[in-house]
């Protein structure tokens, strides 16, 4: 079981977190752009920004995860200064 550093609670077991999907632009796409948003998963070999939630404390934040190594590089709050570097901090 993996560890993840919650920006509120520090390193916790991955079982305490809920994945809420990739971070998308906050817009209202239409037509082809909507279809692409819904059904095209880039599955990139690189770093993906994802929404996560620490369920016991109901903390929603962003994590940067490398999809090749599954390494969590950084976790932080949306639009906030609080930043936590995961992995190296464990």
């Amino acid at each position: 079981m993996k560890l993840m550093t919650c920006p509120m609670n520090g390193p916790r077991s991955i079982a305490e977190f809920q994945w809420l999907g990739a971070v998308q632009p906050d817009d209202d796409p239409q037509g082809g752009a909507l279809v692409e948003r819904l059904f095209f998963a880039p599955n990139l070999l690189g770093v993906l920004r994802e929404w996560w939630r620490h369920t016991p404390t109901n903390t929603v934040f962003i994590a940067e995860r490398h999809l090749t190594t599954n390494e969590i590089l950084r976790t932080y709050f949306h639009n906030a200064g609080t930043d936590s570097t995961a992995g190296a901090a464990q």
């Binding site: 079981m1 909507l34 948003r37 949306h78």
Partner: protein, 947 residues
Amino acid sequence: MTDRLGSGWGSRIDRSRRFDFRFEGRAIAAHPGDTLASALAAQGEWVLSRSFKYHRPRGVMTMAGQDANTLVQVGDEPNVRADLRPAAEGLEVSPVNVLGSLKRDSGRIIDHLGRFLPVGFYYRTFFGPTRGSWEKLWEPIIRRSAGLGVVSLDPTPRTYHKATRHCDVMVVGAGPSGLSAALAASAKGAQVMLVEREPELGGALTYARFDIDRTEAEAQLQDLRARVLADPNIECLLGATCNGRFEDNWLPILQGDTLIRVRARDLVIATGAHEQPAIFRNNDLPGVMLSSAAQRLMRHYAVRPGRRAVVLAAHRDGYLTAFDLQDAGVEVALIVDPEGRDGDGFNAECQRRRIPVLRGATIESARGGLHVDRVTIREGSGTIRHEACDLVAVAGGYTPGYQLALHAGAKLTSDAEGLTFALTGLPAHVHVCGAAQGLSNLSAVIDSGAQAGLRAVTGAADETPAAVPGWRRAPRLVPHKQGRDFVDFDEDLQAKDIVNAVADGYRELELVKRYSTVGMGPSQGRHSALATARLVAGQTGRTLGEVGVTTSRPPFGPEKLGLLADTTPERERHTPLHGEHLSAGAKMQPVGAWWRPFLYRGNESVAEGVTREIRLVREGAAMLDVSTLGKLDLRGPDAAEFLDRFYTMAHAKQPVGRVRYCLALNEMGSILDDGVAYRIAPEHFYVTATTGAVERVFAEMMLKKTIWGLRVDIQNVTPTFGAINVTGPQTRAVLERLAGDVDLSREGFGFLDGRTGHLAGVPVRIMRIGFTGELSYEIHAPQSQTVALWRALRAAGATPYGLEASRILRLEKGHIIIGQDTDALTTPDELGMSWALSGKKPFYVGRQAVAMRRAIGQARKLCGFTLPDRSDLGESALVMKGGQPVGHVTSFGFSLTLDRWIGMAYAAPEDAVPGQSLRLRRFTGGEVEAKVVPLPFYDPENTRQEL
């Protein structure tokens, strides 16, 4: 009668005590400290099992629990490794995979039919001779002969335990490198856990010779062991196996009947090396064993591995084993060395000991019935020579204990010939040392352990070690023309099977493995992977470096299902009224994690009870415990704006004191959930969600709130409130009997109004909503006071009813249940719920998708239908059109009110129109025609609920 070596041998056994256990009914004497296999060997019982495919006799091979030869059944426990399991008084041990007795196994005939079982046999044969051959012919035969132990259907109950631990540094393997790694890490202040599979610390130091003179090994053993045992920062787990490495050093440790889950900051892999067998004809005969197995038998258990030995020395440890054998009084007939020169510099010692050495020679075959009695040797000149012996000690070189490192993502690389290996590409916080790193010189091994222990504290990464010679010569690997030269002992695969797999077109190692099943047995390729890779390399004209080695995944060794079984009790949720239901005689039913009343049953049948409860709702005053409903409290200046974006209806202009239906879609325009929103104050909404969806809806709300940056506080108050829906034409009269400060009159509290106040002294939130189509008040109260309210309502004349009646009542009213009448693709249009989609709002989740899907056109629509009888239909029955399924029945039941069977189903849009008919497929075949009718079935003018 037992045959033990003299004092100086047998470090693990206590000769002062003796006891018996039974093997195949025979009494076997053992000393405390013996394993099952060592006690059997001491008594001359060398045959432990019969092989998987050919029923060949098999005996001790590794003495380290690394092979399938020693699997036995102990009582009702199958697949016990006899070379690991301590002997104990009175055990009933029996061999596995035996037809008849171990020494006279009638399955042995298969050995002589071996040519009919070529590689890929299963793969190719079972397609024929006709269709269905597999089920009728082959499977019964294989079921009878497959598998090793016997699973008892009436086993002795056994308790397994789980523990979770943390440490700074986990060291796996307590050999010389592991011990020094633990000491080095502890010296820097780390809390260390040291895991060792054997019952004592020391690893190879406890049995191997290391040099002509064993003094240094003995001194190191005493010194390292004493320092580790005295170190308060080191916790030793003996008889324990680290069975895998998962992300961030999450490590399962198996120790007896306990699974210890350890989170280690750093992991030091000191797992040593696996000695390799050699490939020659009849290399599986009892009496043929690894050189380390012979040493373990002598040093640990004082068991004489034979009387006259031939040693195959493809590694210096072969010579050292020969010296051990001679010291123990075993006659060493010959050392066979595949190399022409004295690479190890043992010539002088061999001469001194008068041990003949045959250089540039190989063992071509062994012979014997139940035990080896002679070997055939091919000399460098080509001369064939025979040598009588009852022991063949094979020093075939080593592969590193690579499994945990590979679990962590490392790669095992080798030189072209497979003589040196290295583990590269380890992630941070994983370190490797000692023989696992490819080292064999004792001082280098101890030094590498100390360095790894230090790196585990400082956090420095491992560097790729330089290849170290010492694994220096590979024994000849040419398939014997008569076969029976086993590459994989577990699966009875011979060298020619691998050659044939390549000839059949499987050139890549991973494909050879899947085609031939090599490496798939209990020993997981520990002894077959290297030989297989060398054969494939030879057959395809590539080097071993190019072919590579198959990968390794957890688990490292066998693990019992009992250790894996989740022992946490199943979570049950009870409403505040659970006790009330039980004392009222309710039959309870699980709904997800919740338990809900199905029916309050008196002296009547289920059907009679449901009928009584339905009548009660339609004619009197009844109440249903709806405490399981999801409940969300939204407060803040942007609460209305948030609901406007999250749900499809308009909430910004919803008046205070009004209740509005809520429908949530996902980005694809499919229905996510529904509920109601009661505006308690301008900045305060009380929202309900479906019982099963509230967790998901709440998480989605939290995400959207964060993305949208709205000023709203959202609380999931599901367990905070109990809820009771009081329904039926007499409801108002019942409620008015209770003391309260809420105007319950039709004029003062209309349909879809919400009120906050007190009822029977309990603070309540009341909404005029319901599922039944009758006059209904849904009363939410603090969970601590819900029982008081329930009792007051009962005293005032409301009678409880259960879920089954509720199911029919809501169906009569045509209300959908999310998740039952909807699926992941259902749109509001398919449900005829376009009225719930606000046309005025610029945005809500799913708005664009709904418009796009509307433009594509509808494939199905939900409609109501009726039938005069049950017609062998039910939920999930198919709706057919032109012989093809076009939809299914989502809800179905008998309507007492209408005296007909009613249901809802997805159908083609042109058929889902009142007056049309549907073809429904009965569960037992055939179709029946049902009439499409308008929804709701009951009270379409809604006069009753608005009373």
